[in-house]
């Protein structure tokens, strides 16, 4: 296999970039939609190649235990989302919400965003990672505003302002990290390379690390959507095109969380820093409980699930904050499962919103009578995201709660409280949408269930059986996370 012409890590960067260029030129939207799928497929394959041949770590790029599966997950969800968007976006043209020009822009941006995310994941350089994350953010901002309706523009504007403040804070944190590393490692690039940082983390100045982590947590936490930095997230999810909502919830949040994780590992490697755990636990619980309560008054279906994303980010942050092999394992599992499940939910929500011609929950009743397939898809998705077996989320929640309760009962009780509140809200809304007498449009749907099925199958199987390589990967990463 060493006969591979080019390092796969470059492939997963170049393919989307080239794809973006092509798509920007291609006028006909049908072809561009297909090309989009093709390009995503290619980058997915090249991501799979990473398993075959683990590339050597460079000064800028690296593939290690932590990011490899994120890359694969990223490209996979991008691939399925591109399929979904192919079946979704045509309808947007028919309804005239988008013009071909914007569609071209949309596809180009889609790949460009993928490039940004992949880069952020494989970057070996904190500066480079920062750039990449911001790149992804800015492209998503443009995507969110693409409908150019009053609401869309405002959502994008909100996202932009809050996001760029986040950018600034993250950058300051990055600079601080460099300042910490520079006396130990010496000036220049090495002082920003992950590999070097981890090697020398033990001898860094702890208090400066703490300060840096505060800024990085707030900066990247804004992307993660942790309360109180979450304000952009619900509107961005609600007003952008649904594929973008899926990508936001499924990928961008993960990428930002990945950045936070990296820095947490850095702090974990230095024994004298105060544990970042309390910060993560506090923000996590806050996000969980706040989002759970916010779910009750939602009238817009996409905003509803956006808040549920905040809730789950809270759970994940909590898990990593607790630390320990079990909780970290659960956190990683939850990240994976959540991105799969949530994007799947957005797939079905997108089609539902299209057939109903609205996102208002009040206008979509008795779906299981008019559109049984969509309705049950939504039910399965919600059941999975609410953490019922056999969904992988049940396993992660099981591990988090049970392992927490033995160590910090009060925290576990608070966690359970938040989860219960959230379940209550979700099923309250679900009952209104799926059951009862039909309301609103009853137009037939031309949805493609392939992406949805793919995601849900993985999630449901993961609840019963996780293949050993994945397990060992999770466990080794969990150990690093400390």
């Amino acid at each position: 296999m060493t006969a591979l012409p080019v390092d796969p890590v470059y492939l997963i960067l170049c393919v989307p970039l080239a794809g973006a260029g092509l798509l920007a030129l291609l006028p006909d939207y049908r072809w561009s939609a297909r090309l989009n799928v093709l390009v995503s497929l290619l980058s997915f394959c090249s991501a799979l190649l990473l398993f075959v041949r683990r590339p050597s770590t460079g000064l800028f790029l690296q593939i290690d235990d932590l990011n490899i599966v994120f890359v694969v997950l990223n490209t996979f969800v991008a691939f399925t989302t591109s399929i979904f968007s192919a079946s979704y976006i045509a309808h947007e043209l028919e309804t005239g919400r988008l013009t071909p020009v914007y569609l071209r822009f949309y596809h180009a941006m889609f790949q460009f965003m993928m490039f940004g995310m992949n880069l952020a994941l494989v970057a070996n350089n904190i500066g480079l990672m920062w750039v990449a994350v911001e790149l992804a953010t800015l492209t998503t901002i443009l995507m969110v505003g693409i409908y150019r309706t009053h609401e869309a523009l405002e959502a994008a504007w909100k996202y932009f302002i809050l996001g760029s403040v986040g950018i600034a804070l993250a950058l300051f944190g990055t600079i601080l990290i460099y300042m910490t590393a520079q006396p130990v490692i010496g000036t220049g690039l090495p002082a920003m390379a992950w590999t070097e940082l981890f090697r020398h983390a033990a001898s860094f100045d702890p208090s400066l690390l703490n300060l840096a982590f505060v800024f990085l947590l707030l900066g990247y936490g804004t992307k993660v959507g942790l309360v109180p930095l979450h304000a952009w997230l619900p509107d961005a999810h609600a007003e952008g095109p649904t594929p973008i909502s899926a990508v936001l919830s499924g990928l961008l949040l993960n990428v930002a969380l990945y950045a936070v994780l990296r820095f947490k590992m850095l702090l974990a490697a230095n024994t004298r820093t105060f544990a970042p755990g309390p910060l993560l636990i506090a923000l996590g619980l806050l996000s969980l409980i706040f989002a759970a309560f916010m779910l009750y008054r939602r009238r817009d279906i996409k905003r509803l699930f956006a808040y549920s994303s905040i809730e789950h980010m809270g759970i994940i942050a909590f898990a990593f904050g607790m630390g320990g092999p079990l909780a970290n394992f659960a956190g990683l599992l939850h990240m994976t499962m959540h991105s799969l499940t949530k994007s799947a939910i957005f797939f079905s929500v997108g089609h539902i919103a299209q057939v109903k011609g609205t996102q208002k929950i009040a206008d979509m009743g008795g779906l299981s009578v008019t559109h049984p397939a969509l309705a049950w898809a939504l039910v399965i998705g919600v059941v999975a995201i609410a953490g019922f077996p056999p969904s992988g989320i049940f396993m992660s929640e099981f591990l988090v709660v049970s392992s927490t309760f033995a160590r910090a009962p009060a925290l576990a009780v608070a966690l359970v409280f938040g989860l219960l509140i959230g379940i209550g809200a979700l099923f309250l809304r679900l009952g209104g949408i799926v059951f009862g007498e039909p309301r609103g449009n009853v137009a037939p749907d031309q949805a493609s269930y392939l992406p949805f099925l793919a995601h849900l199958t993985i999630v449901l199987i993961a609840g019963l059986y996780i293949p050993l390589p994945v397990v060992s990967w999770f466990q080794s990463v969990a150990r690093q996370l400390g």
């Binding site: 480079l128 911001e134 760029s164 600034a168 300051f172």
Partner: protein
């Protein structure tokens, strides 16, 4: 030499903080823009000084970028926007100027405490610079928070960026990557803001965020 270079850096950074305070104080549009230009100029100077001290030529680039871009282009653009959009000339603040100033002083105190406590080991130059940079960042944030007017907030944001640049310049031997990226991000930021202002101009008559917030999402 060292002590002298230290004093100059100290002076420049300190005066940056001072100008941030002046910006906090300003409540007229044009005056605010001019003050921001001054802020950028000072930033350019201190970055240049850092370049000289660390004899890191690439920092001069940053200085030049700051001088041209932030000190001249952007203020000009802002003035034109203000004229084009007929934004009324005084900026309404959330709380009284006096209170804002007091808050600013508290922030500066906080940042110095944090920094001085933190980097007891690091060299004083970087440390002082960081302290000032942090306080500039915080002041910029305070400005964004305390101004009801879009232009005011944009300026607050950019003064925040200035703080970042100062910090980056203070970090000895930090690769060029970072400065470029900073300028880059500021550029992108401003372009996108411009696009948005333009689009928004198409739709509403003001860039006042208050009007933007007329939509609060998820009503009914």
């Amino acid at each position: 030499m060292h002590s002298f270079s230290f004093d100059v850096a100290h002076l420049l950074a300190g005066s940056l903080v001072l100008v941030s305070f002046v910006m906090l104080y300003q409540d007229r549009m044009y005056a605010l823009i001019n003050t921001f230009a001054l802020h950028a100029v000072l930033l350019a100077l201190s970055v240049a000084w850092q370049a000289f001290v660390q004899d890191a030529p690439h920092l001069y680039v940053t200085a030049v970028i700051a001088l041209i871009f932030k000190a001249t282009v952007i203020p000009a653009a802002l003035r034109r926007i203000v004229e084009r959009l007929k934004i009324h000339r005084e900026i309404e603040t959330v709380v009284g100027i006096g209170l804002t100033m007091l808050a600013g002083i508290a922030l500066v105190a906080l940042s110095t405490v944090v920094m001085l406590k933190v980097t007891a080991a690091a060299d004083p130059l970087a440390r002082e610079d960081l302290a000032f940079a942090l306080s500039i960042v915080l002041l910029g944030l305070l400005m964004m928070v305390s101004r009801r007017n879009a232009v005011g907030q944009v300026i607050g944001f950019m003064s925040l960026e200035n703080g970042l640049v100062l910090a980056a310049a203070g970090a000895k031997g930090m690769p060029l990557v970072v400065e470029i990226s900073v300028a880059f991000s500021v550029l992108i930021a401003f372009i996108v803001i411009g696009i948005f202002l333009f689009r928004i101009r198409e739709r509403f008559d003001s860039v006042d965020i208050g009007a933007l917030d007329s939509f609060r999402g998820d009503r009914g």
